[in-house]
């Protein structure tokens, strides 16, 4: 959840035309959310035509659900920070680069263009005033509570990744110390100072780093092929909705040139990557006759001290495809003809330019529709005396990130985004919160199955077969089953086929809180390639009870497998046709149910910390989201897992 303080600073930042942002104050307000921190609320009833979700349409009616638009040059990313070249030289990208960009910008204080935004981000728990730390840095007591939970199984208490991240960041700071001052969080002490031991002060810095990293992970968006992960002031105010009812979408054209971020005409497509500079074409060699044209296309580039206005280039009329008119002699008549044609084309172009200008109806930066009068008071650093050129104020939708409302909302209603279809352990690991009754939760039975195997040596052969081939064959079967049920998103099937535990497949702990589909790590195809390996680990992870209490196909199959008669097992090993799978591995039996019950009960008993809550207490936890105390988060997490198991158990007994 967002911990944003001092919202006025943020509103001030968004309202400054230099920051090329448009915050739709006529539609939404920022104020404290009952979920904790700030949230975004509808300022009035907003009607959204469900068929109107095209970015193009927004140009016709900028009010159609556009809540925030900000130019990519003004988001805080590894590509927009002052240390961008240092990050490039160090070959650091992704989340590591974003954290460094943030730390260095933060260390500049008011000299950073993002100062107002940065100062709104909080790294401490508003209730306790303590740093909001990732699970792996919690007190042992709290970590112990997680014992036996899916979160523990997922390794949320493992410090390895955080330590590696910190080490790499320290190294970067050290390597660049001769260029840029080391930010305080990365400036480790070698000696004790003022009665504080070096160890103690360094641990404090490590914790600050961890808290910042977690805060950024919960705020970062995946932008495009160039910027990758970035912070978007304002966009991170929307709280998370886990129930598939998010109100807004994040939109940005992602398919840009990975080298320069341009949408097209950047030259990298035509001439190759920047680092292929040593293989430059020798000018004496290119004689293929097609090169002569179009060089003005790439000349409209202001960055190089050279500004070309491609609008009225007089010599780019020729299409490469145009046939060469065969002439024996350039006569004066021919010259006249060329001249009059060029003139006609020039006039036509001028005319179309004029028309384009009239037609444009873009949103202007800093324009927030109905700006309240009292806002003018704190405008002193907007430099109202020097009016910025119009072309710098107009926001080009193609180079912007948008937050767009997707559904109609009522006045006063909080507006939610989704950070992805994430289970509570994932939410806890990435963002430090959990939600009650999370539909993406599940409980795995891997440990119980292994225990069962130990107690029943006779089934070892069967589980070996399952590891070697049975599981992957069954995976295919489930996939085809799901395809038949499509196109509806299959509930609980985190990666489409439920065959991979999300931790096995979403290695990247810090994914973005944009669309689930965008992070692309649980895509069916990739899933098949990367995580459905023929090893025990992968099928153990797929043996889970899904929310709200339904065993996955894999759990059923395993309970069947271990209870089949010797003959039936032989039959299916010999012939794994679909009908055999259906007959032997899908339909439940009494014996299989008994095994399932045993596993579930054992799983239930494995919780080290079992806090029994009465229904009233659960009610108290049922706020949609909660970022408050860690204990409450753990309670929610365990309560949800317990509820899943209880439901499963009761359904078996019935």
């Amino acid at each position: 959840m967002t911990s944003t303080i001092n919202q006025h600073k943020l509103e001030h930042w968004l309202g400054n035309p230099r920051n090329k942002a448009f915050w739709n104050e006529s539609l939404v307000h920022i104020r404290p959310s009952p979920n904790g921190g700030l949230g975004v609320f509808a300022a009035r009833d907003i009607e959204i035509d469900p068929n109107h979700h095209d970015k193009e349409d927004l140009n016709e009616d900028p009010d159609e659900g556009l809540l925030l638009r900000i130019d990519k040059s003004c988001i805080l990313s590894p590509q927009t920070t002052f240390i961008s070249n240092l990050l490039y030289d160090a070959q650091i990208d992704g989340m590591y680069a974003l954290v460094l960009a943030f730390l260095y910008e933060k260390s500049l204080g008011p000299k950073s263009p993002w100062f107002d935004y940065i100062s709104t981000i909080q790294f401490t728990d508003p209730e306790t005033g303590k740093l909001s730390l990732p699970c792996c840095l919690w007190d042992q007591k709290l970590q112990d509570k997680l014992a036996g939970t899916e979160a523990e199984l997922m390794g949320v208490c493992d410090t390895e990744e955080l330590e590696e991240h910190f080490t790499i960041s320290l190294q970067f700071a050290k390597d660049n110390a001769n260029v840029v001052a080391i930010p305080p969080e990365l400036d480790l002490s070698l000696k004790d100072k003022n009665g504080v031991s070096a160890k103690e002060s360094n641990e404090k810095k490590y914790h600050q780093f961890a808290a910042i990293t977690m805060a950024l992970a919960s705020r970062a968006f995946t932008i495009d092929a160039f910027h990758q992960l970035a912070l978007i002031p304002g966009a991170d105010l929307f709280n998370h909705d886990s129930y598939g009812e998010e109100d807004v979408h994040f939109e940005a054209l992602g398919d840009v040139c990975p080298f320069c971020g341009k949408l097209d005409e950047c030259g990298h497509g035509e001439f190759g990557a920047p680092d292929s500079e040593d293989e430059l074409m020798d000018i004496d060699e290119d004689d293929d006759g097609e090169e002569a044209q179009g060089n003005e296309d790439s000349a409209n580039d202001e960055s190089n001290g050279v500004k070309q206005d491609s609008d009225d280039d007089e010599e780019e009329e020729d299409d490469d495809d145009e046939e060469i008119e065969e002439i024996d002699e350039i006569t004066e008549e021919y010259v006249k003809k060329v001249e009059s044609e060029l003139e006609a084309e020039r006039l036509a172009e001028l005319k179309s330019d004029d028309e384009m200008e009239e037609g444009s109806d873009d949103v202007e930066a800093g324009d927030s529709n109905e700006k309240g009068d009292d806002d003018d008071a704190d405008d002193e650093d907007y430099d109202s005396d020097d009016d910025l050129p119009e072309e710098e104020l107009m926001l080009d939708p193609d180079t912007c990130c948008d937050i767009v409302l997707q559904v109609s909302v009522k006045e006063g209603q909080e507006i939610y985004n989704t950070y992805g279809d994430l289970s509570n352990p994932m939410l806890l690991a990435r963002y430090g919160f959990a939600v009650h009754n999370n539909p993406h939760d599940y409980v795995t039975l891997g440990k119980q199955i292994l225990r069962y195997k130990k107690a029943h040596p006779e089934i070892e052969e069967r589980l070996q077969w399952w590891t070697d081939s049975g599981h992957s064959i069954f995976c295919e079967f489930v996939k085809s089953l799901i395809k038949q049920q499509q196109p509806q998103h299959v509930q609980g099937a985190g990666c489409g086929d439920g065959c991979c535990g999300e931790d096995a497949c979403c290695q990247d702990e810090y994914s973005e809180h944009s669309e689930h589909d965008e992070h692309g790590c649980c895509d069916d195809d990739e899933c098949q390639d990367e995580c459905c390996n023929n090893d025990e680990m992968s099928w153990l992870l797929s043996a889970r009870i899904e929310h709200p209490g339904a065993p996955s196909h894999f759990v059923y199959a395993l309970t069947k497998l271990v209870t089949l008669s010797e003959d039936d097992f032989k039959t299916i090993v010999e012939d794994t046709s679909e009908s055999h799978i259906k007959k032997y591995l899908v339909k439940s039996t009494k014996n299989a149910d008994k095994v399932l019950l045993q596993w579930c009960q054992e799983r239930y008993d494995d919780y080290m910390y079992l806090k029994d809550l009465n229904s009233k207490q659960i009610e108290e936890l049922s706020v949609k989201t909660s970022e408050t105390s860690t204990d409450r988060v753990i309670d929610i997490l365990i309560q949800n897992e317990k509820a899943i198991l209880e439901k499963c158990i009761s359904s078996i007994e019935v």
Binding site: L86, H268, P274, N304, D309, D313, T331, E332
Partner: protein
């Protein structure tokens, strides 16, 4: 590249600046022919696609010079004075940059807007020092010729010849099909003025923007000069020119490792505001090395979000353009000349800089003999 009579008539180059290839074609521009020039083109497409540029060298009957865009709403009093002289020859001994033939700087286009900023090796820095020193000599030679009555084309000729004399290539020549070897920006011209037949007048200011290429590296520098004593007596003009000169020096003084490129604009804009002049926003300083223009991008206006930080071994330019009136610019139909929107004068100064371990080295620094230089403001 034969616009005039070639010495070796057997080797013909297509006259289209976007082609420039060797050709066996005998298609000639009939208008050039009438004016005693042989301009060959590969085919009708080369002719047609470049005609708008090519016709700049055509004389007009009965007049010494003419305005090629009589309908254009010029912002100030300055007018282009055509015809231009044909493109100048480059001897074979001079190494060409990749755009010399077609105008297309492919190496630059490939490097455009990535966030890599090149750090030069000690050997490369040596080459940069040499080419920048030569660049200074060439600019000084051009500046020495600045006086009332001299045309900007005559200055172009001097700069071209001084460049060639040093076995260097005049970087602007055919860069995106730019027709000359130097940019000469008079009075309201902000930058990229094309040398032509207009004689400089007492009371003008003129900027000479010299760039040369040698041993694989470019030097880039410019200065604004007062033409005659009348300009030096114009209080506002002196304020503009000297403020611009000072703003560059003040920005340079801050350059050292760790200095963010986006801070440069704050320094320049602050000094400009203090002296009641404005900062042009459309044109930026840039990285310069084996590429004429590359990263970093260095805006001269305040509160910009340019990316990157100074690191020892990075070479770049700062080249503030300051205007007496509005900062807004307009482009002439030649697609190069940029003038102020209100027709009031604009001044510019530029150096090529090298970030060192503890500061900065001005590679194109003035010498004791350099013409021009600061003059006191008029009270």
């Amino acid at each position: 590249m034969t616009a005039t009579k070639t010495q070796k008539p057997e080797v013909r180059h297509c006259c289209a600046p976007n082609c420039g290839k060797v050709t066996t074609s005998s298609l000639k521009c009939p208008i050039c022919l009438k004016q005693d020039m042989n301009s060959y083109f590969c085919n009708s497409r080369c002719f047609r696609s470049s005609f708008a540029m090519h016709k700049a060298i055509h004389k007009k009957e009965g007049v010494e010079s003419y305005d090629p865009f009589p309908e254009f709403p010029y912002a100030g009093e300055l007018r282009p004075a055509y015809p231009l002289t044909p493109k100048k020859e480059i001897p074979a001994k001079v190494k060409l940059p990749d755009y010399a033939q077609t105008g297309e700087p492919i190496s630059e286009i490939k490097n455009d807007r990535t966030n890599k900023i090149r750090v030069l090796t000690a050997d490369e820095i040596k080459k940069m020092r040499i080419v920048c020193e030569l660049g200074r000599e060439v600019l000084d030679a051009g500046a020495a010729a600045v006086k009332p009555g001299v045309t900007t084309e005559e200055i172009d000729k001097i700069i071209h010849e001084e460049t060639i004399k040093r076995k260097a290539y005049p970087s602007p020549l055919n860069y995106f099909n730019y027709p000359k070897s130097v940019c000469t920006s008079v009075n309201e011209v902000i930058c990229h003025g094309i040398p032509d037949k207009r004689p400089l007048k007492d009371g003008d200011i003129v900027n000479l923007d010299v760039s040369i290429y040698k041993n694989g590296f470019h030097a880039d520098l410019n200065e604004t000069y007062y033409v005659g004593d009348k300009a030096k007596a114009d209080k506002d003009l002196v304020n503009l020119v000297e403020t611009t000169r000072e703003s560059l020096d003040m920005a340079i003084a801050q350059v050292k490792p760790g200095f963010a490129f986006r801070e440069i604009g704050d320094i320049i804009e602050e000094h400009a505001k203090k002296n009641n002049v404005s900062v042009v926003r459309s044109y930026c300083g840039h990285g310069v090395n084996s590429l004429f223009h590359c990263q970093p991008e260095v805006p001269h206006y305040g509160k910009n979000k340019a990316i990157g930080t100074c690191k020892p071994g990075i070479c770049f330019t700062i080249e503030p353009m300051l205007n007496m009136g509005t900062y807004r610019d307009v482009l002439w139909p030649d697609n190069w000349t940029s003038t102020t929107e209100d027709g009031k004068p604009s001044a510019q100064f530029e150096h090529t800089l090298l970030v060192t371990e503890d500061g900065v080295e001005v590679l194109t620094a003035r010498t004791k003999r350099s013409p021009g230089g600061p003059i006191p403001r008029i009270a």
